[in-house]
C-alpha cells in the first residue's frame, strides 16, 4: 500500500512537470495553429536565464520568475513578429522555420555560455523532504505541483475570464469573422506566442534544479510535450491537463512494475492506440466545420 501511494505521488509529480512543459505548446498550437518545434528550446532558454540570473545577480528562483517570464515573452514576441507572422497557414514552413529557430537558439547558448552542464540549485528551504500521507516526499516536487496547478488556472483565467481571452477564442474559432468585428488578430497572435513562450521558459527554470541544464536539454522535453498535446486534443486546456495526468500516472505505475525503458515504450504504444481510435485526441470541441 505504501508503495502504491508513493508511486501515485510520483505520478502526480510527473504530471505537474508534463503539464508545465506542454501548456505553452498547447496554447500556441491551439490558437495560432503553429507547430512550434522550438518549444523545447524555449524551455532550455528559461533554464539558462534562471542560471544566468542566479550566478550573475544572485537572484533566487522565486524572485526571478517574473524577470524570466518577461525576458522570454519578449523573445517570443519578437520571434513571432519577425518570422512566424509571415508563415501562418503554411504548416510545413512553420515547422521548418521553428525547427531552425530551435537550432539557432541551441548554438547561440553553446557559443556564448559553453556546452558543459550547468548547475542550478534548489532553493535551500525546499531542498529537504517532508512527510505526506506517510511518505517522504521532496518539498521541491510538491512546490512544482502547486505551481503547475497555479499556472494552469492563470492560463484558464486569462483565456476564459478576460476580454483578451474572449478575443483570443474568437480568433481561434474564425480569424476572418473575428477581424470583421474589429479584433486585431495580429496582436492576439503575437501576444499568445509571447505568453506561450514565457510559460515554457518558466517551466524550464523550475524543472532545471531537479534535472540538468545543457544546450540540448530541450529535445527531451519537446517529445513529452507533443505526446501530451496530441493525446489531449490540441484545442483543449482541460485535455492538456487530463492527458498529463494520464501519461504521468501510467508512466509511474508501469515503471514501478517493470522499468523506465519499457514504461516509455508502452506509454507511446498506448498513445498510438488511442489516436487510432480518436485521431483528434481525447478532448475535442464539436464544431460544424
Amino acid at each position: 500500500m505504501d508503495f502504491f501511494i508513493s508511486q501515485f505521488i510520483s505520478g502526480l509529480s510527473m504530471t505537474s512537470i508534463l503539464l508545465m512543459i506542454s501548456l505553452g505548446l498547447a496554447i500556441i498550437y491551439g490558437t495560432t495553429g503553429v507547430i512550434n518545434m522550438a518549444h523545447g528550446e524555449f524551455v532550455m532558454i528559461g533554464a539558462y536565464t534562471s542560471w544566468f540570473l542566479q550566478t550573475t545577480f544572485g537572484m533566487g528562483l522565486l524572485v526571478s520568475i517574473i524577470p524570466i517570464f518577461l525576458i522570454t515573452a519578449l523573445m517570443g514576441f519578437l520571434i513571432e513578429r519577425i518570422v512566424i507572422r509571415h508563415l501562418y497557414n503554411r504548416l510545413l514552413d512553420t515547422i521548418l522555420a521553428t525547427w531552425g529557430i530551435g537550432v539557432l537558439l541551441q548554438q547561440f547558448i553553446r557559443l556564448t555560455v559553453g556546452s558543459e552542464l550547468k548547475y542550478l540549485k534548489i532553493p535551500s528551504f525546499m531542498a529537504e523532504s517532508m512527510t505526506l500521507f506517510g511518505q517522504e516526499v521532496s518539498i521541491y516536487r510538491v512546490f512544482i505541483f502547486v505551481f503547475a496547478i497555479l499556472t494552469f488556472f492563470v492560463a484558464w483565467f486569462i483565456i476564459f475570464k478576460t476580454s483578451f481571452g474572449i478575443r483570443l477564442r474568437a480568433v481561434t474559432q474564425n480569424k476572418d469573422i473575428a477581424s470583421c468585428f474589429g479584433i486585431n488578430s495580429g496582436v492576439v497572435y503575437s501576444s499568445t506566442f509571447a505568453f506561450g513562450t514565457g510559460i515554457a521558459a518558466v517551466a524550464g527554470a523550475f524543472i532545471a534544479p531537479l534535472k540538468s541544464i545543457s544546450p540540448d536539454m530541450g529535445t527531451n522535453y519537446i517529445i513529452d510535450a507533443f505526446m501530451v498535446v496530441v493525446l489531449g486534443g490540441v484545442e483543449s486546456l482541460i485535455g492538456t491537463a487530463a492527458s498529463s495526468l494520464i501519461i504521468g500516472e501510467t508512466s509511474s505505475f508501469l515503471a514501478s512494475f517493470s522499468n523506465d525503458t519499457l514504461a516509455k515504450a508502452l506509454v507511446l504504444l498506448m498513445i498510438i492506440i488511442i489516436l487510432r481510435i480518436k485521431p483528434q485526441g481525447l478532448f475535442t470541441k464539436r464544431t460544424r466545420s
Partner: protein, 425 residues
C-alpha cells in the same frame, strides 16, 4: 532541340572523361613519385618536418558536454610538446574535426583524417558507440586510434590504444571495499546501452563470489531525467549499496532527485564508475556528497605530475575548469605517442611502427606510473576509490598498492586478448 543538346553534352562528357584519366595518371604519379624526390625522409606521414595527428572530439551536439574537455586536454598536450621543441625536431600538427556527436559522422570524419589528411594517428571519441563506428576505418586502413575513455572491455583490436580503464581495473578493489563497508544487499541501476550492461555483468560475477544479493537490476533510457520511480524502488528495497552506471546528464538528475527525496548516502550510497568532477560540478556538491566513485584518476590526486597538469589546464582553458578521469588519459595518450616516436627515432614513421614502439611503453602520468600492455594495447592503471565531499571534490579513501593489469575479457574467462588477436579456448 533536345537532340542538339545531347550531342553537345556527349562531347563534353568525352572530353571530361579524357581529362579525368589524364588527371588520374598525373596524380598517381604524384602520390608514388614526388614525395621521394621532395622529402629526404621518404616518409609521407612526416612531411615538411611536421607530423599530422587527427583530433576527433565532438564540439557540437549532446556529447560536446564531455568531449569538449577531452579535446582541450589533447590539444594542450600537443601544444606542450611543440613548445618543448617537438619530437625529434618535428612539430606535431593537430588536424581537428568535429563529428557533432553522431556515430556516422564520426566514421566519415575519421575516414577523412586518415585517407585525405594522412594523419598517422587519431586521438578521439568518448562513447563506445562512436568507437565502434570508427573502428572499421582504422582496421581497414591499418591506422592507429588512441581512445581515452574507461569502457566495457570485450574488444581486442591492434588498431586501438586504450588508455582508459576496463571493468576489472575499476571494480576489483571497489566491489569488495563496498561489500565490507556497507553490506551485501545491492541494487544495480544503469543507462540502457552496452557499457552499463557489461559493467554489471562483471559486477554480478564479483558479487556472487562475495555472497551478495542483487535486489534490482534496471536500465533507464539514455538522456532519461525522471527518476522518481527508481528512487521509490530504492526506498522500498533499502539496498546497502546502489551500483550506478548511469551516464551523462542522467547522472546529474539521479543524484539531485535522490537528494531531494531525502535518502541518506551514509546508509545507502551510490557507487559509480562514471561520476567524475565534471558531473559533480553540474549537480552541486550537496547532491554529490557521500557518494563514491572508483577511477584511476581524481583531480585531487597528489603528485608533481598532476599538479602540473591541473595548473596548466586551468591556465590554458580557464580557472573554473576541472580535470577528470577521462581528460587525464586523453592528455597522457599524446605523451605516449611522443615516446613511441622518440623510440622510432630516424626510422620510418607509420602506424605500424608506432604501434610496435608504443607496446610496453611506460611513463609517469598524473595518476602514477602507467604502462601499455603489449598483448592487449590496454593500459596498466592505478585505480583509486574516492568519496565525494560537498565542495565538489573527492577524498581519496583507498589506493591500490600496485598497478592493475588490464583484462578486457575479464567477464568472459574462455576468451583472452593476445598480440595475435582474440583467442577463444
Amino acid at each position: 532541340m533536345s537532340n542538339k543538346k545531347k550531342t553537345k553534352l556527349s562531347v563534353k562528357r568525352r572530353s571530361f572523361l579524357t581529362n579525368t584519366v589524364k588527371a588520374g595518371v598525373f596524380s598517381a604519379a604524384a602520390v608514388s613519385g614526388f614525395p621521394y624526390v621532395w622529402f629526404k625522409q621518404g616518409n609521407a606521414y612526416a612531411a615538411k618536418n611536421e607530423i599530422k595527428v587527427g583530433v576527433l572530439f565532438s564540439l557540437t551536439g549532446g556529447l560536446a558536454i564531455i568531449e569538449e574537455s577531452l579535446h582541450k586536454a589533447t590539444i594542450m598536450a600537443i601544444e606542450e610538446i611543440n613548445a618543448a621543441g617537438g619530437i625529434n625536431g618535428m612539430k606535431l600538427r593537430a588536424v581537428e574535426a568535429d563529428p557533432a556527436s553522431d556515430p556516422a559522422t564520426f566514421a566519415a570524419k575519421a575516414r577523412t583524417l586518415v585517407i585525405k589528411d594522412k594523419c598517422v594517428t587519431v586521438f578521439g571519441s568518448y562513447t563506445s558507440a562512436s568507437r565502434k563506428a570508427v573502428l572499421p576505418v582504422f582496421e581497414k586502413q591499418n591506422n592507429l586510434y588512441f581512445y581515452p575513455t574507461l569502457y566495457e572491455g570485450r574488444e581486442c583490436s591492434k588498431n586501438v590504444i586504450y588508455t582508459g580503464a576496463v571493468p576489472n581495473q575499476q571494480q576489483d578493489d571497489f566491489i569488495p571495499y563496498l561489500v565490507k563497508t556497507y553490506g551485501k544487499r545491492w541494487s544495480l541501476i544503469g543507462s540502457n546501452y552496452i557499457y552499463p550492461k557489461e559493467e554489471n555483468n562483471y559486477c554480478k560475477i564479483l558479487l556472487k563470489k562475495l555472497g551478495c544479493e542483487v535486489l534490482m537490476e534496471e536500465y533507464v533510457p539514455l538522456g532519461h531525467s525522471e527518476f522518481s520511480s527508481v528512487v521509490n524502488k530504492f526506498k522500498n528495497d533499502k539496498p546497502n549499496v546502489i551500483f550506478s552506471t548511469v551516464v551523462g546528464d542522467s547522472v546529474v538528475a539521479l543524484h539531485k532527485q535522490y537528494r531531494a527525496a531525502g535518502l541518506n548516502p551514509e546508509k545507502m550510497p551510490m557507487a559509480s564508475l562514471t561520476t567524475s568532477e565534471n558531473e559533480v560540478a553540474a549537480m552541486g556538491g550537496d547532491a554529490a556528497a557521500g557518494h563514491l566513485t572508483s577511477a584511476p584518476y581524481f583531480m585531487v590526486h597528489q603528485s608533481a605530475e598532476n599538479e602540473k597538469f591541473v595548473s596548466s589546464y586551468k591556465k590554458r582553458w580557464g580557472s573554473d575548469k576541472v580535470t577528470h578521469f577521462v581528460s587525464e588519459p586523453a592528455y597522457f595518450g599524446v605523451y605516449l605517442f611522443k615516446q613511441a616516436l622518440e623510440k622510432i627515432g630516424k626510422g620510418d614513421i607509420t602506424p605500424n611502427t608506432i604501434r610496435e614502439a608504443v607496446k610496453g611503453q611506460e611513463m609517469i602520468a598524473p595518476q602514477g606510473k602507467i604502462k601499455i600492455d603489449p598483448a592487449t594495447l590496454h593500459t596498466y592503471l592505478w585505480p583509486k576509490i574516492g568519496i565525494c565531499k560537498s565542495n565538489g571534490q573527492f577524498d581519496i579513501i583507498q589506493k591500490t598498492d600496485q598497478w592493475r593489469k588490464p583484462i578486457p575479457y575479464a567477464a568472459y574467462p574462455n576468451q583472452t586478448c593476445t598480440e595475435k588477436g582474440l583467442v577463444t579456448s
